[in-house]
């Protein structure tokens, strides 16, 4: 008999297998219901069996023993039924028990409330609007005579399938439930869930025991999630399936919400991890609990080093005593009260590198207390630097503006104060402005007499107007400046004055502002000094030659002296002899010269052959010596002659005098060959400069030869050749030496100022540079140099036969003109 009861293990396993919480409750309830029902059914079956047996045995069922047993059993059955009912009704879900014929054996009120068929066939009883919703299931269940479906009398006996089909709004769910129930009725098992793999572990009931279907029902806006479970009931007389419906909408919502929260948390975590801002989570006292990668990257600390340390103390190496650290700590203390704040702080990385960060701190409040602080730190160093630079730039700009303004004032003052003449005019030649010096130069009292007028309006007779007109016209036409043009003017007192004028195009601003700027300087005095200086330079070079010239003069004087001494001696002898012949005291008689005896007197004289040879030779030597001295003096005078500008000179003679005065420089090292063309004639030259160039080149050649011979130990003299010739355009002076020559490197630099290959103190390096300045720049000629090591050097100086009007006649001007031309 007890074997009819479902094994306790089945219940237990069903209970234990309830995985999901809501499903477990439902499953447990269904199992319990099925168990109770089968108990009820078993008791009824026992009762029937007992009754039948009594009838068979002729025993009255009313026999006392049997009667008692029956009564007891019936009472137990009713008790069980009441318990069952209250269980059924207390279930959260709707429950329906289906019999083998598909009729509803029982259902609870929730079922009736939930599933309201639009029509109930056979008048089987409509639940009515409030029908199935009897508030008190216990009262119904208390009726001992009532069928198990007493509380839901309307529902019991109705066809489950019909009900399902007519139920409103749950067609899909009920349709699937219906199919399962049919299967259960037919086979006693639930069909396997096609959505589960066949070998999937089924944690709940044994295979075929239970199947659940989850579905969304209801009209849009009131959608609800229902789970229908079909539990196959075995070994029961009537019941085949228990169907429960549970509303899991709330659970589902909670689940969705939870998932959303989790996702959001994950997203936030990702953001916190990946953001460029440094994020620090600390305790309210600033003790670090967590930092993100950006923070470790920025500060150079590892996460492990940071946890447990105080955020404000990380500001600097100086630790908590640092001013900035204290500021940050105080900021943090405020956050605990104000719940949030932003500030900028100067921080430092682990290695001490300073940086600026904008720090936003938020308090995380839990249960009314600040649980954490979240620090979001942004590196604003670049911005701070940019701001700083901007501020500096502003300051600079202001300073510049101030300086500029000062400068402008200063410039105006300077222009007005410079002793040079400064003026500026518009394109039409009308004065726009000028300085005080120019006003004075023009003899005007104030600017008013000048501004707005042009030179033709001014009554000027000094030639300045014409000179300016010409220069300005050129500047305006070409846009090119005219620099350092020398202009000679006759001033009011009839004195010649020299002005150095520059006219520059003024192209700033609009067309109407265009014009010219003129700058002039009175160089009359400087020109005079220049002339004197050039002369002084010539004299100085003569001074340098003086020792050599002294030697040159001393030598002939030496032999003139010797010869004169000799001649004096001889003359004295001859006079003595003559006197002795003619002196009456000597002879005692006045005899005619022809009759005087000459022998005694003549006997004291040197022999006549000696005299007739030596006396004329001595006289000739004296003559020659004196001629040599005279030549040297003439050459010196010639050489020292101050040239007066560029005039036609006898170039051959200039060469001869240069050779003469430099004789002592070359005669011990070289023979001088003069190959001067008789027809060389004259050429327009700056004589003084030209002679100095020739002299320099002779001395250079002699020194080159001398040093070379001394170095090589060659005693023979070298050769220097000076030649002149005339071609169609030039008078050519050639200087050739057979000295050591120059290599390419020296040749290229030969004309550079201060370049010298001589020993220190022997040469200033100015010789050939001067040659270039004089021949090329000043005479507009050219110099050809042919040389190679071991083959001497040959210079050809080309002097133009026609002087180009260069407008210059001093070395200073020559240089300026050279620059203009380049």
């Amino acid at each position: 008999m007890t074997g009819l009861w479902p094994p306790a293990g089945g219940v237990a396993s069903a209970r234990a297998a309830a995985g999901a919480p809501e499903a477990a409750v439902q499953a447990a309830a269904s199992a319990r219901i099925a168990e109770l029902e089968s108990t009820v059914a078993a008791q009824q079956a026992v009762i029937s069996t007992l009754v039948t047996a009594a009838e068979v045995r002729g025993e009255s069922v009313t026999s006392l023993g049997t009667q008692h047993v029956v009564e007891t059993r019936v009472a137990r059955i009713h008790d069980a039924e009441r318990v069952l009912r209250s269980v059924i009704e207390s279930l959260e879900g709707a429950l329906c028990i289906v019999g083998a014929d598909g009729t509803v054996l029982d259902a609870n009120r929730r079922w009736l409330r939930l599933i309201q068929p639009s029509t109930l066939p056979d008048g089987a009883g409509s639940p009515g609007p409030a029908g199935p919703a009897g508030p008190d299931g216990t009262a119904d269940a208390g009726d001992p005579s009532a069928r198990p479906s007493a509380g839901v009398a309307g529902a019991v006996g109705t066809d489950f399938f019909t009900w399902c089909r007519t139920a409103q709004g749950m067609a899909e769910l009920l349709g699937r439930v219906e199919a399962i129930v049919r299967e259960v009725i037919e086979t006693g098992c639930v069909p396997p869930d096609p959505s589960l793999p066949p070998d999937a572990v089924r944690p709940s009931a044994p295979s075929g025991q239970e199947r659940s279907v989850k579905c969304e029902v209801g009209p849009p806006g009131e959608r609800r999630w229902l789970v229908a479970r079909v539990h196959a009931v075995r070994d029961h007389a009537l019941a085949r399936a228990v169907v429960t419906l549970t509303d899991i909408t709330d659970g589902m919502r909670a689940q969705v919400q939870l998932r959303r929260v989790v996702e959001e948390a994950q997203r936030l975590a990702l953001v916190a991890k990946a953001t460029h801002s440094g994020i620090v989570i600390t305790q309210p006292n600033g003790t670090i609990e967590w930092v993100n990668e950006a923070f470790t990257w920025r500060t150079g600390y590892a996460l492990g080093e940071l946890v447990g340390r105080s955020r404000p103390d990380l500001v600097h190496d100086d630790g908590p005593n640092d001013v900035e650290s204290r500021r940050l700590a105080s900021f943090m203390a405020n956050i605990v009260n104000s719940r949030g704040g932003v500030g900028e702080y100067r921080l430092a990385t682990r290695s001490g590198e300073p940086y600026w960060a904008s720090i936003e701190v938020r308090a995380v409040v839990e249960d009314g207390h600040v649980a954490h602080l979240v620090w979001v730190e942004q590196d604003v160093t670049a911005r701070r630097l940019a701001q700083q630079r901007l501020a500096e730039a502003m300051t600079r700009a202001e300073r510049l503006a101030a300086a500029l303004s000062q400068e402008k004032t200063l410039l105006a003052g300077v222009i007005s104060a410079v002793p040079q003449l400064v003026f500026w005019k518009d394109a039409a030649g009308r004065y726009v402005g000028c300085n005080t010096a120019y006003l004075t130069f023009c003899g005007l009292a104030g600017e008013g007499e000048l501004l707005g007028r042009d030179d033709t309006c001014l009554d000027r007779s000094d030639g300045m107007a014409e000179a300016l007109l010409e220069l300005e016209a050129h500047v305006i036409a070409t846009g090119e400046p005219v620099v350092n043009r020398t202009v000679d003017l006759m001033d009011g007192a009839g004195q010649l004055r020299t002005l150095l004028l520059s006219v520059l195009p003024h192209a700033e601003g609009s067309d109407s502002a265009r014009g010219v700027i003129g700058v002039g300087a009175d160089i009359t005095h400087a020109r005079e000094l220049e002339r004197q200086l050039a002369q002084a330079n010539r004299l100085e070079s003569i001074g340098q030659l003086a020792a050599g010239i002294a030697h040159e003069i001393n030598t002939p004087i030496q032999y003139v002296t010797g010869n004169v001494h000799f001649l004096t001696d001889i003359a004295s002898e001859i006079l003595t002899a003559a006197r002795s012949i003619t002196d009456p005291a000597h002879t005692g008689t006045h005899l005619p010269w022809s009759q005087v005896s000459k022998e005694p007197a003549l006997a004291t004289l040197p022999d006549i052959a000696f005299l007739s040879e030596e006396v004329p030779a001595a006289l000739a030597a004296c003559n020659e010596g004196l001629t040599r001295v005279a030549e040297i003096v003439r050459a010196l005078k010639d050489y020292a002659h101050p040239g007066t500008g560029r005039v036609d000179i006898d170039v051959n003679r200039a060469l001869e005098s240069s050779v003469q005065v430099s004789r002592n420089e070359w005669k011990y090292v070289a023979q001088m060959h003069l190959d001067l063309a008789p027809d060389a004639g004259q050429a327009p030259c700056f004589e003084g400069e030209l002679k100095q160039v020739i002299l320099n080149m002779i001395v250079n050649a002699a020194q080159a030869i001398g040093e070379d011979r001394m170095r090589r130990g060659v005693p023979e003299l070298g050769n220097i050749t000076l030649a002149t010739r005339r071609d169609s355009d030039h008078l050519v002076i050639t200087i050739v030496d057979d000295g050591p020559g120059m290599d390419e490197n020296v040749r290229r630099r030969a004309f550079d100022p201060f370049f010298t290959t001589k020993d220190v103190g022997k040469g200033t390096g100015q010789g050939l540079s001067l040659a270039h300045a004089v021949i090329v720049t000043k005479h507009r000629g050219r110099i050809d140099l042919q040389t190679s090591p071991g083959n001497g050097a040959r210079f050809d100086l080309y002097l133009p036969l026609v002087a180009e009007p260069t407008g210059v006649d001093s070395p200073a001007d020559a240089e300026l003109d050279d620059r203009d031309a380049s």
């Binding site: 003086a546 002294a550 030496q558 032999y559 010797g562 000799f566 040197p606």
Partner: protein
């Protein structure tokens, strides 16, 4: 008698011709040789002995200075003169060592004649050819190295005065002689007849002294002076004798020129001793250890082959010092106690001898008492007493200088 052999070297034939005619009167006694270049001169010298060479300075090839240097080493017995028209100090300084006398072109005939005569006469002053070569070869006189060291330090200082240099140079007779040679000959075209180192330094100027020292051919230190030869004492003796003899000259009212020459002779009297002692240390030792009983003249002659005065005279004659200086040195009596010497000596020489004796710090062999009583001719007792009286001021001057 041998005719004097004189050679002139000049690249200018006109100069040689002029000299030949200028010296035509000497043709009876002098053989004149002519060379157009230094090379030709050296060639001739290698074959023939020449007593005096007179050369130009600047010539193609070998210069006059180089020629004289070659002659100094190859033919030290030949006197070396320069006749140059050069005005370049650098060249003159280069030639200052090997040149014994310097003549400037144009050179008056009598000056040239005197120079040649003096050079030839010098040869007669020294009989010993070895000593002649020794003294003739000198470019630098033996002198203690300290003088050179101090001189280079002195001239490097910007605040050095001519007096500072003089005070140093006068501490050494050799240096004094070298400097005086340069001013007594016309090396730098200066006035001759300079008898004091102060005047010599002032005339030359510190620039030239500096250049001379740097060029390294004058005032150079030498080695070989015997350590027991007190050069400072010798110089001091010379200075004191110089002052004393000048006082004697002034006392006697002699011509300033001869007083100057006398002073110079006193100042430079012992320069020959420095040369001899340096060249022959063994002879110097022999002289020191010579028999005290012998006369000073004998002791000097025995040790050195000549008297110190003769060697000094020869050197100074070669170097163109005034003839009065040379003569006085050559004939200065060594011992006034020797009546023969005393009687033969000139007043100048006697004055020098008295001055030297008065200022000599060493014990003198002959006692003053020996000859004061003697008959003395010119140097009679009264005069000797008067001369000896000049000593006091000399000491006083010396004390003043030492104390300053």
């Amino acid at each position: 008698m041998n005719r004097a052999q004189i050679m002139f070297v000049d690249d200018d034939a006109g100069v040689l011709e002029g000299l030949r005619r200028q010296l035509w009167r000497r043709r009876e006694t002098w053989d004149l040789h002519w060379a157009g270049s230094a090379g030709a001169a050296l060639q001739y010298l290698s074959e023939t002995h020449v007593d005096v060479v007179v050369t130009d300075m600047q010539m193609p090839g070998i210069s006059g200075a180089e020629l004289l240097e070659a002659i100094r080493t190859l033919h030290p017995g030949t006197a070396r003169l320069v006749l140059s028209g050069h005005a370049d100090h650098e060249a003159i300084i280069a030639a200052a060592g090997p040149t014994q006398q310097y003549l400037s072109k144009p050179c008056p005939a009598d000056v040239l004649d005197a120079a040649l005569t003096s050079a030839l006469r010098a040869l007669g002053l020294m009989a010993d050819p070895t000593l002649r070569s020794l003294i003739g070869s000198l470019a630098n006189l033996p002198k203690p190295p300290r003088i050179y060291t101090e001189l280079t330090a002195l001239i490097a200082r910007p605040d050095t005065s001519a007096a500072d240099v003089s005070r140093l140079l006068e501490q050494d007779v050799s240096s004094t002689t070298e400097v005086l040679k340069l001013v007594n000959s016309s090396f730098f075209g200066l006035a001759t007849d300079v008898s004091s180192i102060d005047r010599a330094v002032a005339l030359l100027g510190l620039d030239v002294i500096q250049a001379l020292v740097l060029a390294g051919n004058v005032l150079m230190p030498t080695v070989g002076l015997p350590p027991d030869l007190d050069t400072t004492a010798i110089a001091e003796h010379g200075m004191r004798a110089c002052l004393a003899v000048r006082r004697i000259g002034q006392l006697e009212g002699w011509e300033p020129a001869s007083v100057n020459a006398l002073g110079l002779a006193a100042l430079l009297h012992d320069v020959g001793l420095l040369v001899l002692a340096s060249a022959y240390p063994d002879r110097w030792q022999a002289y020191l250890q010579a028999d005290r009983d012998a006369s000073e003249r004998d002791r000097q002659t025995a040790a050195f082959g000549c008297t110190i005065g003769q060697s000094s005279a020869y050197l100074l004659e070669l170097w163109g010092f005034p003839q009065a200086v040379v003569t006085t040195l050559a004939v200065c009596p060594l011992e006034l106690s020797d009546l023969a010497e005393r009687t033969a000596a000139s007043p100048d020489a006697l004055a020098l001898a008295v001055a030297r004796e008065l200022t000599d710090s060493r014990p003198v062999a002959g006692s003053t008492a020996v000859y004061t009583a003697a008959e003395g001719g010119y140097l009679h007792a009264d005069r000797l007493a008067a001369w000896r009286a000049v000593e006091e001021p000399v000491s006083a001057v010396q004390d003043v200088r030492a104390g300053s």
